[in-house]
Symmetry: C2
Subunit: 547 residues, 2 copies
């Protein structure tokens, strides 16, 4: 297999561990914990895994030589560093006892249920150390939530004499990890389940989890590209670049990239929702800045747009809701109409407010909302090219202002969507170390008999030596939320906090960034060289930890 020069050199990188994990390890337990909300409900649902203490690792005098086999699963979307969690886990269980075995279940949680797995050995792991991607064992989106899945998984777990399963995933996958932990605990099967916080979206964080892994590398990769585009923009001085950034719902990625690159505009979905802004409000906000810059002779700029935006615009949310109901009720007769008649039909049936919203949308988008639906009959919001929608509407608004004499200038747009470019980048030094430490922590949680915990590493803005590793009971991060009409226990998703330090830093600077040109060009992730370049964390983490 041919590999790149970078991969060859990077394979030799030895990730750094927190002091507590460098030798023999013991556990320090804190006081019992509570869930963040709905304590009674959560306690009732998780009688065996509720209320456990926070755990922190400390150096010990003698090693726990636990004999244990472990299974590992990658769940959901890719994030840089997954292979390093596996490496950390592998190295730590081998350090505990060289006879310990690590099994990787293939293509996500489905691999556990369907008994597809490989043994991970030093030999096959070597090529994946410090690499991006989840290709070593693959990932998948099967949800582990049903008893027959748990029982099916148990068969292979017993066959391989596995003591614990490590599930590397986002908020949903970790919620399910806890349900699995609770189930195995309730049944007294003696099988432990440990989670690891993965997602480039950055929305799996709270008082215990400083950041989810992959966020650092992905946002640095996107920021490299945004910086390059800003430099092009500032050199050619003739385009407005509209850049949509991946991130299912929260705007952490867009915010972090804005802090790194200082674009002229960055939309934050959470703010738009909080202010109950309409699509037209957003369009006017952008058009105002375009007009201001044009008056200064600057017919160029960069706009960052979070992928989840559309669903956060309250008026669009209400429209989508009514459309879903309307077309579910009248689906068949509607489907048989031609395009123009369909539009007329919708306009006749919508409430006044939603009709007004519908009429402001460009025809293509209106059509997308009223026609293309997923198998459950819902609008496929992710298919809407928000970056083009918004730039088209800005162009229309500017044309109108031009006729009214309120704007003189040239407006030409370019569009970009960055997502797949960053999810599988090779992990930055930060993610390489952080993930390795998470894997190592997961192994120690297992060795110390824990289940229903997530591996955590804190104090991550300090040097790796001073990082604090341990575990948090997953129930501690849960509350009850409505999902598909039912109240469910879930890990609370972290949205951008409008009174948090990262957003505040952004909001106090954005007017200057809009009017002047304050672009910053972060450049590509560096693995060697000055520490100021290679070892910096995200701006988000830096600002949050300053609090």
């Amino acid at each position: 297999m041919e590999i790149s020069a970078l991969q060859k050199e990077r394979a030799n990188y030895q990730p750094k561990l927190p002091k507590a994990l460098q030798g023999a390890v013991k556990v320090k337990e804190g006081a019992p914990t509570q869930s963040v909300d709905n304590q009674e409900d959560i306690k009732k649902l998780f009688p065996n895994t509720y209320g456990m203490p926070l755990v922190e690792f400390e150096p010990a005098d003698s090693a726990n030589n636990a004999k244990m086999n472990v299974g590992v699963i990658l769940s959901g979307g890719q994030a840089p560093g997954g292979h390093n969690v596996i490496s950390g886990l592998f190295d730590e269980i081998k350090k505990l006892n060289p006879e310990n075995k690590l099994y990787g279940f293939l293509m996500g949680p489905g691999g556990l249920v369907d008994h597809n797995y490989i043994e991970i050995t030093e030999e096959n792991l070597q090529a994946y150390r410090n690499t991006g991607g989840f290709d070593m064992i693959g990932s998948g989106r099967t949800k582990l939530e049903k008893e027959d899945q748990f029982e099916k998984g148990l068969e292979i777990i017993k066959k391989l004499n596995i003591k614990a399963i490590v599930i590397i995933g986002g908020d949903d996958s970790n919620t399910n990890a806890c349900i699995l932990a609770e189930y195995y605990a309730a049944k007294n099967y003696g099988i432990q389940v440990i989670g690891c916080p993965k997602t480039i979206d950055g929305d799996l964080k709270n008082d215990q989890i400083e950041t989810s892994f992959g966020f650092d590398t992905a946002t640095k990769t996107y920021s490299e590209l945004i910086g390059n585009i800003e430099r092009d923009c500032n050199s050619a001085r003739k385009y407005w670049h509209f850049v949509k950034l991946m991130g299912r719902s929260a705007s952490h990625i867009a915010l972090e990239c804005a802090l790194q690159t200082q674009p002229n505009i960055c939309l934050i979905s959470e703010e738009i929702q909080a202010k109950d802004q309409t699509l037209n409000d957003i369009v006017e906000y952008i058009a105002d800045i375009v007009a201001y810059r044009a008056a200064e002779g600057n017919n160029f700029g960069v706009v960052l747009i979070p992928e989840g935006l559309i669903e956060f615009i309250p008026a669009i949310g209400r429209l989508i809701q009514e459309l879903n109901d309307l077309l579910a009720a009248h689906g068949t007769d509607y489907m048989n109409l031609d395009k123009d008649a369909q539009r007329k039909y919708i306009l006749e049936h919508l409430s006044t407010e939603n009709k007004a919203t519908f009429e402001t949308l460009p025809e293509g988008v209106a059509r997308q909302l009223s026609l293309d639906r997923d198998p459950h009959g819902n609008v496929q919001v992710s298919l809407i090219e928000t970056e083009k929608l918004i730039s088209e509407m800005v162009a229309t608004k500017l044309d109108q202002w031009k006729k009214e004499g309120k704007y003189k200038g040239k407006f030409a747009a370019q569009h970009h969507f960055f997502g797949y470019e960053g999810r599988c980048a090779a992990p930055s030094n930060f993610d390489a170390d952080y993930c390795y430490a998470l894997g190592s922590s997961a192994a120690q949680l297992i060795a110390n008999g824990k289940t229903g915990y997530m591996a955590i590493v804190k104090n991550t803005t300090a040097g790796t030596d001073q990082w604090k590793a341990g575990g948090v009971p997953i129930t501690m991060m849960m509350n009850m939320e409505r999902r598909n009409g039912e109240m469910k226990p879930v890990i609370r998703k972290a949205l951008v906090e409008l009174d948090g330090a990262p957003f505040k830093s952004f909001s106090t600077q954005r007017e200057k960034w809009a009017k002047e040109t304050c672009y910053v060009y972060p450049g590509p992730i560096q693995y060697w060289g000055p520490s100021s370049v290679c070892d910096q964390t995200t701006k988000t983490l830096e600002l949050e930890q300053q609090k």
Copy 2:
């Protein structure tokens, strides 16, 4: 002005120079030269700048302390390293004589004509050393080709006591540099003109120019992204990614990225043209590979598509030609028809062969070819989203094959276009050094009285110490070509040579890459660290120089 950590550290990088340019410099002249073709015509058009010798620099015992002011112009699209050409030029003329001044004309050749300029000083240059972009003085696409422009430029040249103009540009800009040099020489104005080979497209190369600057950095940046996408593709195993790559007409960028990343498919326009392939041939070629991989359980892959593809498909070229003529002749009555009638009108008027081609096109593309036209009445080929066009046609073909039982599998596509992401990246070590040496060479060509030359640096696959710097008479690279109906002297554009080493290396490996999964993940450009990572040249250059 806030700058990134990388910029801070990178500002201190001192680009390396070839031995001959490290101290005092003298000139070694070769034999008289000839143009690559049409020698009589070129000689007649360039009586004062034809036949000059190749020039190579050598270490000298004593310095030429030439007193000279110089003007510099960035022409055309951005390419990484432009600021380093300016730095090399600046440092070299200051080394010759600290009183020498460098002026930068603003926003391209228009700055010379309109007398917009700044003086470049150590102070304002410092922030731009080793950075990407052309934002220090801007660039533009004004063509310098008319006498009144030359005379207008002369006014400011005289006012600033400028001895020579350095034009940093692609093949067209360097052709115009030579016309300007010839004009000033014919008029005995005593003003010299020197060119520098810039373009990420890589199509300005020949026996004298090993590579144009920016190609190295841009292709490495695109390859980083393609590698990341390949890793995502190989992890998720559910998408075919169609990646269009910038590069006006030649396919050098796509080819280089393919050599770096080993995708499943890479289209090379020059090959498609040589084989007279139709769009359907291309679609079947891709669909065959998709079907083969699907049969192996691999419903994923990566396809690279050069931006210029459409114009190189002979059948489409002929169709576009006939449409241009047809709609020029019948524009008005056609414009007044509705969409369906327009399509009918076109089908009625096209020749049988072109009608057949038109009918195979998806409706949106057919419409784009028959409606949206530039101010000269020509199809705006660059607006066609080739990556989507091809993936849609592949999907249609696979649907058909599925019905015929020839294909079983799932086909879901993602689309990307990489261009602006790479044109303004900070230059790689190679481009940083190469550009600096080009700027330094340009200064020495001026100091040694040369005009109508391009600065060149050769032996670039060896260490910088062994690089050979000098100059080539621009007329040596010229031939006569038809442009807008007239025969014009132009620098011959380098297309991908189907019997060249880079294409051969690709074509002998592509079947393996198509069937197996041989992805290589180059990762981001590194500025520090192992030389194998930081100082490698492009695969194209490596293969070409092995010859």
